[in-house]
């Protein structure tokens, strides 16, 4: 149980850990030299801003950003005009990143907690924190578990992987609510079935003339909001005055549904049935070009169209109309959405929709470009089965140390997953979150990581579009609080663990990054000095080839008809008469945005409500229940119960209710705490995964009422004289 000697500690600590980081394009220095500001840093002029390129980490898309820094303060984030993914554009969450950096509730330094769940943290020194971690890891041996999220930097994940491999621990888990609600794991899996490769699909909207979106809210926080927003703009500006035709099939109107030319309110869980019905109608027609009809014959299942009409709530005439529209199009595209991913783990539902693409030749469909370097790890989201396996291991007491980075499982997972229970069986829990979130509050030790604007790293753009890109990350300001990069922490503590030390020989993360970056891809290094390559990588915000590689062949491997069934819903229809539709808030996403006041205080695009949770109910349903806007109702599912105020929403199926995810935090800072409800509490856990798209609920009025913090005047909007003001 030898502690690291003080001399050794200082030796290794000084090498990488205790350095505060200065920014720089030419020569990033890791060492502090104290100089008076009369001699300013080389690239700093008072009153003149410098722009530093980095990568946004508010969601896994990985848009390139540039940050305006003046006098050592980060003032504004913009999209990096050079980055091929977002080309200078950025979404609301990306803009709010400065409030992650300067959040008042960030931990000022490492803390420990003697009573889990109390929130009573005792500040400790980094030396103490590191020593504690080192002790525990050494003792744990292979009994370590690592839980990361979809925005954890590739290089850190790489280091975690190496550490796990070296100590015999299982591979790190990559799982958070964002990836779950986006269906990332299932989409990648489904693509393996469809293309033979495990990547996230991308859809070239700007090349399509007709898009059938099966619950894919691509204009919202799904996959790549900025890029799809840009693509949508291009879709609507197609040449020859063609405006494109978008059909959205979903039970509740999302932002994408709002922009659709035809919004079809289909019953939850029937997306795959409708897709199969369309294929059937095309085959039976036969509709469209000859080769389409042939493929349709192969791929269409023997499904009864009128029964699909009954199940989905779409009349047969409209299904036929849809099929005609699809078949008459030149470059149609069908997009399977995240709800499909949640409905069954096998991906048959997704395949049913992809069948339509296979029929039409899948021109608008693309694969994410190949990762430019196989040695550059990119987070691959773990399927829920892996999550359950980890929870079971924890329950069984097989995990001695749990390290959590970039994920908040205590908040993300419903009570039915029993995470807190499992944590109780883990002797030592370490969180690396910069703010004490729900998981941090259940930890014994919190070693706060630096926020992404103060961090090094890289991000393999996924999903990638046309150009394969790797975004760079660099600190844009001196770290605001006494946080240290988790990669550096790992490299420091593993120095004392012989097996790990051999696998992780780098002094600090920058040394590690400099070593692997030259492997970016063919032509990347191109005879360049490592330092120059490194500088360019940072200066431009990443690396991408000058021209797009030829598109990866993507012949669909779908060769037979897909038989997707309607999914099983949790809860008996009689007792739980309503379908629950969960969706990620456009601003708060999966809840990680709740600590940023710009996101909390900005109006939700569809309801204009800020700061609160709400449940969207069709006007007739509300009348039947006898509730009005602001009335608080109990929503009960077989797995749990929450309370939420009503928002009467005209664009939702009468037998469906919708609740946004994102509020209901019990910790995570002053802006997030004790606000609204977390609808994940309603979600049950099945063998297939989290039943967030397959839950039924019942509603009971409570008699309580709250004032709704809506930006709109609902009475005015209902008055409906919009056409007088807006001829558009």
């Amino acid at each position: 149980m030898a502690k690291i000697s003080r001399r050794d500690f200082i030796k290794m600590g000084a090498a990488g850990l205790l350095a505060t980081v200065l920014t720089g394009c030419q020569n990033p220095r890791r060492w502090v030299t104290l100089e008076p500001y009369v001699i300013p840093p080389e690239e700093q002029l008072a009153g003149v801003a410098t722009w530093y390129a980095s990568t946004c980490r508010q969601c896994p898309a990985g848009c390139g950003i540039i940050v305006r820094v003046m006098n050592g303060r980060a003032l504004k984030i913009e999209g990096n005009p050079k980055h091929p993914l977002n080309k200078g554009k950025l979404c609301a969450r990306g803009q709010a990143g400065l409030q992650v950096l300067y959040n008042p509730d960030r931990l000022p330094g490492p803390v420990q907690q003697t009573e889990r769940g109390s929130g009573r943290f005792q500040p400790i020194s980094w030396e103490e924190g590191l020593n504690t971690l080192y002790d525990r890891l050494r003792q744990a041996g292979s009994g370590t578990a690592i839980w990361t999220g979809s925005t954890t930097s590739g290089h850190l994940l790489d280091l975690f992987e190496r550490f796990a491999a070296a100590t015999g621990a299982p591979s790190p888990l990559v799982f958070d609510l964002y990836s779950e609600l986006n269906g990332l794991a299932a989409l990648e899996n489904a693509d393996r079935a469809f293309f033979g490769q495990n990547r996230l699909p991308t859809y070239n909207l700007e090349q399509a003339d007709v898009i059938l979106s099966f619950g894919a809210d691509f204009l919202g926080p799904w996959l790549s909001q900025v890029r799809y927003g840009m693509a949508f703009g291009a879709f609507r500006s197609q040449s020859l005055g063609k405006r494109g035709y978008l059909v959205q099939l979903e039970p509740r109107m999302s932002i994408t549904g709002a922009k659709a030319d035809w919004w079809l309110p289909i019953s939850p869980g029937t997306e795959a049935l409708v897709a199969q019905a369309l294929a059937r109608i095309i085959a039976d027609g036969p509709l469209g070009p000859a080769e389409w009809a042939t493929k349709a014959n192969t791929l269409a299942s023997e499904i009864d169209v009128s029964s699909v009409a009954a199940a989905s709530g779409i009349p047969v005439t409209e299904l036929e109309q849809l099929a005609h529209i699809f078949a008459a199009a030149t470059r149609p595209l069908a997009i399977p959405g995240n709800a499909l991913a949640a409905q069954d783990g096998q991906g048959t539902a997704i395949a049913a929709v992809q069948a339509l693409n296979a029929i039409a030749g899948a021109d608008g469909l693309a694969l994410s470009p190949d990762s430019p370097a196989t040695s550059l790890l990119k987070p691959q989201v773990s399927p829920f089965g892996d999550v359950q396996a980890l929870i079971e291991r924890m329950q069984a007491g097989d995990v001695q140390v749990l390290l959590i980075h970039g994920a908040n499982p205590v908040y993300d997972l419903p009570e039915s997953a029993r995470v807190v229970d499992a944590l109780a069986h883990v002797p030592f829990v370490v969180s690396f979150g910069p703010i004490a979130d729900e998981t941090g509050v259940q930890a014994d030790l919190v070693l706060p990581d630096r926020t992404y604007l103060e961090s090094w790293g890289y991000d393999v753009t996924s999903p990638g579009f046309d150009l394969p890109a790797v975004g760079s990350q660099q600190p844009v300001v001196t770290p605001v609080f006494d946080a240290h990069s988790t990669a550096d922490v790992l490299l420091t503590v593993t120095r004392g663990i012989p097996t790990a030390a051999a696998a992780l020989p780098w002094s600090d993360e920058v040394a590690f990054l400099k070593e692997i970056i030259p492997q970016l891809g063919p032509g990347a290094a191109g005879g360049l000095d490592t330092d120059v390559l490194w500088s360019r990588f940072l200066q431009h915000g990443g690396w991408w080839p000058a021209t797009a590689p030829p598109p990866a062949p993507h012949t669909p491997v779908l060769s037979q008809s897909v038989q997707a069934e309607a999914p099983q819903f949790q809860g008996d229809e009689q007792e739980y008469p309503y379908f629950l539709h969960l969706y990620m808030s456009d601003l708060l996403s999966d809840g990680r945005g709740a600590d940023q006041p710009w996101l909390q205080g900005s109006p939700d695009p569809m309801t204009t409500v800020a700061w609160q949770t709400w449940v969207e109910i069709h006007p007739q349903t509300a009348q039947k229940l006898g509730v009005k806007d602001g009335d608080v109702v109990h929503i009960t599912s077989p797995a749990g119960e929450i309370e939420a105020p009503v928002y009467i929403y005209p664009a939702i199926r009468p037998n469906t209710i919708a609740v946004p995810v994102g509020q209901g935090h019990t910790d995570y800072g002053r802006y997030a705490r004790k606000r609204g409800s977390n609808p994940m509490d309603l979600v049950g856990t099945t063998s297939e995964g989290l039943a967030w798209a397959t839950t039924r609920v019942k509603i009971t009025p409570t008699g309580k009422k709250i004032a709704q913090a809506g930006f709109e005047n609902k009475a005015g909007v209902d008055e409906g004289f919009i056409n007088e003001a807006f001829p558009g």
């Binding site: 709109e712 005047n713 009475a715 005015g716 909007v717 008055e719 409906g720 004289f721 919009i722 007088e724 003001a725």
Partner: protein, 483 residues
């Protein structure tokens, strides 16, 4: 023998019927019922010395409410306008309503002292001072409200045109500056007018009091001796003011109405607002004066001076003004109703069917139905108590009218997404209460300092009016003073 008996003896051959007729005339008409000047002066001055318990209770309560205003205002200045119920889009609410309301009330004083004087309506004589005092206090109170309303009250002086180093001047494009000019003019003119007509009474008070009162009145009276020359100058000055202040009176509330009419807000942008507001001001003002007089008659025992005839006269005006107000309101409502513009329609639906409907109907009841149903009756018109009751409703109705114009209408505009509702919060409610209390408080104070009945005017009137026997008839006579 009583004075009346002596004087009645002086007429020729009074037969019992004549005596009865004369008597009843004298009882009804103040100007036909002279008393010696000393007696009248005493009647007016004595109540000023009596500091009864009732006075002190009123003083403390009203003074307390005024103090609460002060404290609340300070609180608002420290914390910000956010302590009120204002929001976007309703950025003007109770403070502006109070502003308009109190200026409105102030019109009655000028109406009675100046307009009725110009029209030679003689029954205005005993009530003119009480009405002028109401004007001055109402205007003073009203003038506070733009200050209370400002987001940065401490910068109020930027609204004044004064030479400064940055060469910044206020903008005369803005109706608010016209307001400032008009109200300051009106206030200063009203004060001067009131002061001017006070001279003879101040002198009278000076000659009949001792101690601090004597010193006060001596200072204020500026050496008035009541010479022929002084009276002539006095009269000329009063004439100038009378004819000059009448257009000021009309212009002030017209300009206040332009705060709204010049804006493009639906419901405000109406050309009829000018005369509509002036009539409304007179209407509420006359009602307020009736209430003040009724209170004065009771508390100061001015039963001799304030008779049923005065109330009847005021009530007739109240009825006429109510009809005029109804005419203008009907115009203001009908025109946008006919046009059916979406925003105007939305506002009118709010009034007739929305949450504002109870207020709207109460307003129509108080301003039209109640006066029309009652004031045709001579008996009601001659009853101060009934009129007091009716006037309360008139005040309520006119206050609601301003409330419906300002915060209610602002809640609806051309973009329904941005509609809003205003709910008064405690600070502005306390300040409003304090404003009403301030008027009362100042009145209570002034009742102890200034004689509230212009004795000289009553004397003048009584000199000019008389009863004469011509043959068997008893005839009222009236003389014109020499120009």
């Amino acid at each position: 023998m009583s004075v009346r008996e002596i004087e009645s003896q002086s007429t020729q051959d009074t037969v019992p019927e004549d005596a009865i007729a004369t008597d009843s005339l004298r009882r009804r008409r103040l100007l036909l019922d002279p008393r010696p000047a000393t007696r009248m002066s005493a009647d007016v001055l004595d109540p000023m010395d009596r500091a009864t318990a009732r006075f002190w209770v009123a003083f403390v309560i009203l003074g307390g409410l005024v103090a609460i205003w002060g404290v609340t205002w300070l609180y608002q200045m420290i914390w910000g306008i956010g302590v009120t119920g204002l929001n976007r889009p309703v950025m003007w609410a109770l403070y502006i309503v109070n502003f308009v309301y109190f200026i409105g009330i102030g019109h009655a004083g000028t109406f009675i002292s100046a307009a009725l004087r110009a029209l030679k309506i003689e029954w205005r004589r005993p009530i003119s001072r009480a009405a002028e005092m109401l004007t001055v206090f109402a205007l003073t109170t009203a003038a506070m409200f733009p200050l209370v309303h400002l987001g940065r009250t401490w910068k109020f002086y930027w609204l004044m045109p004064y030479p400064n180093q940055r060469q910044l001047w206020p903008s005369y494009h803005s109706p608010l500056l016209w307001d400032l000019t008009a109200i300051l003019t009106y206030l200063s003119c009203s004060v001067l007018f009131a002061y001017l007509s006070l001279f003879p009474d101040l002198a009278m008070a000076r000659d009949r009091t001792r101690g601090w009162r004597h010193v006060l009145y001596k200072t204020l009276a500026l050496g008035w001796r009541g010479t022929e020359r002084e009276w002539a100058t006095h009269k000329a000055a009063l004439n100038v003011f009378t004819y000059a202040i009448i257009p000021v009176m009309f212009s002030v509330h017209t300009i206040v109405s332009w705060d709204f009419a010049m804006a493009i807000q639906p419901g405000w942008h109406s050309t009829v607002f000018g005369p509509y507001f002036v009539i409304g001001a007179l209407f509420s003002g006359v009602g307020a004066v009736i209430m003040v007089l009724a209170l004065l008659r009771k508390t100061m025992r001015f039963g001799y001076f304030l008779r049923d005839e005065h109330f009847e006269g005021m009530a007739l005006f109240l009825l006429l003004l109510s009809m005029a107000w109804a005419y203008f309101y009907f115009n203001d409502y009908l025109v946008p109703w006919y046009g059916q513009g979406p925003a105007e329609k939305a506002i009118q639906e709010l009034l007739s069917h929305g949450w504002a409907a109870p207020l709207w109907f109460l307003m129509l009841f108080s301003n039209i139905l109640l006066p029309w149903a009652t004031l045709w009756s001579r008996r009601i018109r001659r009853s101060a108590g009934a009129l007091f009751f009716i006037s309360i409703f008139v005040q309520i109705g006119m206050y609601i009218e301003r409330y419906l114009i300002v915060p209610t209408t602002l809640g609806r505009n051309e973009l329904p997404f941005d509609w809003g509702i205003y709910v008064p919060h405690l600070p502005e409610s306390l300040i409003t209460l304090g404003a009403f209390a301030l008027v009362g408080f100042l009145y209570v104070l002034i009742s102890r300092i200034i004689p509230l009945i212009p004795v000289w005017e009553v004397l003048e009137g009584q000199m000019l009016h008389g009863l004469r026997r011509i043959g068997k008839a008893v005839v009222q006579t009236r003389a014109e003073p020499e120009e």
